[in-house]
């Protein structure tokens, strides 16, 4: 059993290493670390300084001079990386200002997301997710990072439960007394109506 355990453990890190391998001390990462390591060495000479996140991630490519043909999307959730450096044609994100379409060469943007439908268009296929909320960063080099707290594919949503939830929260709003309760009920209504329109529209 111990042998199996060690085999499983040995397999684990290698499998996960493929989407984001640990690359230690890339040349781009040195500059931030250098000031820190020097300052550390002066004050605490006996210990090695702690590592910083920059040494654990691959650097992003610089902005190309011409607009690339594909958009590279990273769609991450706390529990999984749904899409990791996937090349797609377009994504439509539910920003607070409305549905926003992102194509390669989009201007660099930071946008907050509201509950709604995220669709990923690759060739002829479209994948739709309902996201609860989060952020989207669009970089100048046609990389899009979408970070959401919860995302489910649309076919996993149950219409009856959505209706029930909407009714619940509407009644809660009418019976709410404090501001906090009102705010919570309002959030519930927003999410459920967005769910409703996602299922119908």
């Amino acid at each position: 059993m111990l042998r199996q355990a060690s085999r499983l453990l040995a397999r684990g890190p290698i499998l996960a290493a493929r989407p984001r391998p640990f690359s230690t001390d890339l040349p781009a990462a040195q500059s931030a670390d250098a000031t820190f390591t020097e300052a550390w060495a002066k004050v605490i000479p006996n210990m090695d300084p702690p590592k910083t996140p920059l040494s654990f991630m691959q650097p992003r490519p610089p902005t190309p001079s011409s607009i690339p043909s594909k958009l590279t999307v990273n769609f991450v959730l706390p529990y999984a990386s749904e899409l990791a450096t996937k090349e797609v044609d377009m994504v439509i994100v539910p920003a607070t200002t409305g549905q926003m379409g992102v194509l390669p060469g989009h201007v660099a943007t930071i946008a907050e997301l509201k509950p709604g439908v995220l669709s990923v268009h690759e060739g002829n296929e479209v994948t739709k997710y309902f996201v609860s909320s989060g952020f989207v960063f669009i970089h100048a080099n046609s990389f899009a990072d979408i970070i959401a707290v919860e995302a489910v594919p649309l076919d996993q949503l149950d219409a009856n439960l959505v209706q029930k939830g909407l009714a619940d929260f509407t009644s809660k709003l009418s019976s709410a007394t404090t501001d906090l309760e009102k705010a919570e009920a309002q959030i519930g209504i927003d999410v459920h109506s967005a769910l409703n329109s996602a299922l119908t529209g």
Binding site: D33, K51, T52, N74, A95, M100, V107, A111, I147
Partner: protein, 325 residues
């Protein structure tokens, strides 16, 4: 006094012949009251004592082996979660960069440690790093405070830095770790602690035998603006259009809070993995040590046993030969 000791043990007094004294036993913090001194320096250890020791060492070995198995299974469970959460902090670092050497007035060090012990040296490493960062960021007009997660760091830091501790949170792993719990935690910290920069110290899990102490820096929105204006690392931040909200500041505030909760989630999971891995290797070396000790005690036991048999035989034979001749 020797006679009284012997009577107590109920053993025969050793004859004039001295068998080789049993001094080869290295592991003998065996109480002197159990060692009998014969007239010519013969020493006997009661076999009962050695047998008791062997039993307890064997039990210890079983317990540490079981603890290692438990830690291995817990590690498997948390490891998948931790690896899936690794993508969470990377977009933030890609956007905002990583500035551990940023110069701020109020920094808060969030030290993540375990609640239970017997996990090797990882908690001491985290505490040493936190103290190092505290020292690094000390100076005129600068102050560093601690927020502690976990009993072990609390025990170590409360001794000398009691006045700098702002918040202590324990029993994190009572329920399996999830994002909701961590975001509530992050909310608490953000509400109660004023900061310009948050430095999260944890052990990043590389493999079952390797844990790297890491510090992640999260800046408050004002500092982000300041760094963006002064150029350098965050200089391109101004090029980003900010959609939605009334002001850019509001979005940056939300962004900083979201970043903190995401980075905390990953840090807590990685630290949990490192804790289980460290416990596995600590318990493994403990079982191996117990096994070695058991071997040595077995040799002692056999030697003692054989010596007493030899002594009996000698007595009988010498007694018989005295009668004859």
């Amino acid at each position: 006094m020797a006679m009284a000791a012997l009577r107590r043990e109920g053993r025969r007094f050793a004859p004039l012949i001295s068998p080789r004294p049993i001094t080869a036993v290295r592991s003998s913090p065996i109480a002197p009251s159990h060692q009998d001194e014969g007239p010519i320096g013969v020493r006997y250890i009661s076999t009962q004592v050695v047998r008791n020791r062997m039993k307890s060492v064997k039990n210890i070995q079983k317990i540490t082996k079981a603890m290692k198995m438990v830690a291995a299974s817990k590690l498997r469970a948390v490891q998948t979660k931790a690896e899936n959460s690794r993508g969470l902090w990377q977009p933030f670092t890609a956007l905002l960069g990583d500035l551990p050497s940023v110069d701020v007035k109020k920094s808060v060090v969030v030290t993540i440690s375990s609640d239970k012990g017997l996990c090797g040296g990882i908690n001491s490493t985290s505490v040493k790093m936190s103290k190092g960062i505290h020292k690094l960021n000390s100076g005129p007009e600068k102050e560093t405070k601690y927020v502690i997660l976990g009993e072990k760091a609390k025990a170590q830091l409360i001794r000398d830095s009691k006045k700098d501790i702002q918040l202590i949170i324990t029993e994190l792993q009572k329920n399996p770790l999830n994002y909701t719990q961590v975001s509530v935690l992050a909310d608490e910290i953000l509400k109660n602690v004023e900061f310009d920069a948050l430095r999260i110290v944890f052990n990043k899990f590389h493999s079952v035998v390797s844990f790297v102490p890491t510090v992640s820096t999260v800046l408050s929105p004002e500092i982000v603006e300041r760094e963006a204006e002064s150029g350098g690392k965050l200089g391109d931040l101004d090029n980003y259009e900010v959609e939605g909200g009334e002001t850019k500041g509001e979005i940056l505030q939300n962004l900083a809070e979201f970043q903190f909760s995401c980075v905390m989630f990953n840090a807590v999971l990685e630290n949990a993995c490192s804790e289980q891995g460290a416990r596995m290797s600590a318990m493994d070396s403990s079982s191996r040590n117990a096994g070695d000790m058991l071997d040595r005690l077995t040799l002692t036991y056999n030697r003692t046993r054989q010596a007493s048999i030899t002594t009996e035989l000698i007595e009988i034979i010498s007694g018989a030969s005295a009668l004859e001749g």
